[in-house]
């Protein structure tokens, strides 16, 4: 069907992830619509931290796509460098999240205190897991790319990373902005 095998497989991964996140976000939206009181809970979340993390992920998506561009020009080392920047973005994202969660948990907003917080931790946690997995795979891809090998993988991991970014683009308004 005209697609390289690796990229084809990544698209199928993305397709199956759409329904996983669709299930949890769909459930959240339905509950949110029937629980007006969640607005108050959502007001507690730190919009600035969320916005900063959105910025970080968008930027890491930029470096991922630039890495893809470099790989297409055959410049493996540059692609690897840009991938490392992307991983750094993921790391920043996780650190910010860790601070947020520490703050919230220490102020009593734990996973069991209210359904809003249950969704907050589970949905963002599932997303965070995807960030971690993406970072690990990206480190492997960067290692081969540096030697100018398997350059097509740079694009494939990029597609996955953009998808993780996409999920966050929706999580951000759902969890932080809609108050």
């Amino acid at each position: 069907m005209g697609l390289p095998t690796g990229r084809l497989a990544v698209w199928w991964v993305v397709a199956s992830e759409i329904v996983i996140f669709g299930g949890i976000l769909g459930s959240y939206v339905m509950f949110r619509l029937s629980h007006d009181s969640w607005a108050e809970q959502a007001a507690v979340t730190n919009t600035l931290a969320g916005a900063f993390n959105t910025f970080v992920l968008l930027t890491s998506s930029l470096t991922a796509v630039l890495a893809h561009q470099a790989a297409e020009r055959g410049d493996g080392p540059r692609a690897a460098r840009l991938l490392h920047f992307t991983v750094l973005g993921g790391l920043t994202f996780l650190i910010v999240k860790a601070f947020e969660w520490t703050y919230e948990i220490s102020h009593g907003y734990t996973i069991g205190s209210n359904l809003f917080w249950s969704f907050y931790y589970v949905a963002a946690g599932l997303h965070g897991l995807h960030v971690i997995v993406g970072m690990i795979i990206m480190l492997f891809v960067a290692r081969t790319a540096k030697r100018n090998e398997e350059l097509h993988r740079v694009e494939n991991i990029g597609i996955y990373w953009h998808f993780v970014d996409l999920v966050w683009i929706f999580l951000f308004p759902l969890l932080y902005i809609a108050k």
């Binding site: 069907m1 005209g2 697609l3 390289p4 698209w11 993305v14 397709a15 759409i18 329904v19 669709g22 299930g23 769909g26 459930s27 939206v29 339905m30 509950f31 619509l33 029937s34 629980h35 007006d36 009181s37 108050e40 809970q41 507690v44 919009t47 959105t54 910025f55 968008l58 930027t59 998506s61 930029l62 991922a64 796509v65 630039l66 893809h68 561009q69 297409e72 020009r73 919230e104 102020h107 009593g108 907003y109 734990t110 205190s113 209210n114 917080w117 097509h152 694009e155 990029g158 597609i159 953009h162 970014d165 996409l166 683009i169 929706f170 951000f172 308004p173 902005i177 809609a178 108050k179």
Partner: protein, 119 residues
């Protein structure tokens, strides 16, 4: 196999200014953060979710290269989303309901000002 070669060559044939796309995304991010400051519900909803959809579209279109990907890939993704919408559509009449013929949900919305995490 010949098809693979053509599919792979696509990147160079066309030049997206990725940094520009990124800059637009950041502007949109600022819009979505500033939107709620007006305190108008409709504006908040539009700046939050309308903008999110635009951002998502831009990332998918330019960064994931759906603009130059085979069309059927786009259709698959849209079908997956459509299934999710159908699912939510089928579920919401039940989940959004708080009572029925012989039942009601016992849980009560906490009065404004109550609640919070102080458990």
């Amino acid at each position: 196999m010949a098809e693979h070669a053509t599919a792979h060559a696509h990147g160079e044939t066309h030049h997206t200014n990725y940094v520009k796309i990124w800059a637009i995304l950041l502007v949109l991010l600022v819009v979505s953060v500033v939107g709620p400051e007006f305190g108008i519900r409709t504006v908040t909803l539009i700046t939050a979710f309308g903008v999110a959809i635009v951002k998502a579209w831009m990332v998918a279109h330019y960064f994931m290269h759906l603009n130059i990907e085979k069309k059927w890939v786009v259709y698959i993704m849209v079908i997956m989303l459509a299934f999710m919408l159908a699912m939510v559509g089928g579920i919401s009449p039940d989940v959004l309901k708080h009572d029925g013929h012989n039942w009601e949900k016992l849980w009560e919305e906490p009065a404004p000002g109550a609640g919070g995490g102080a458990h």
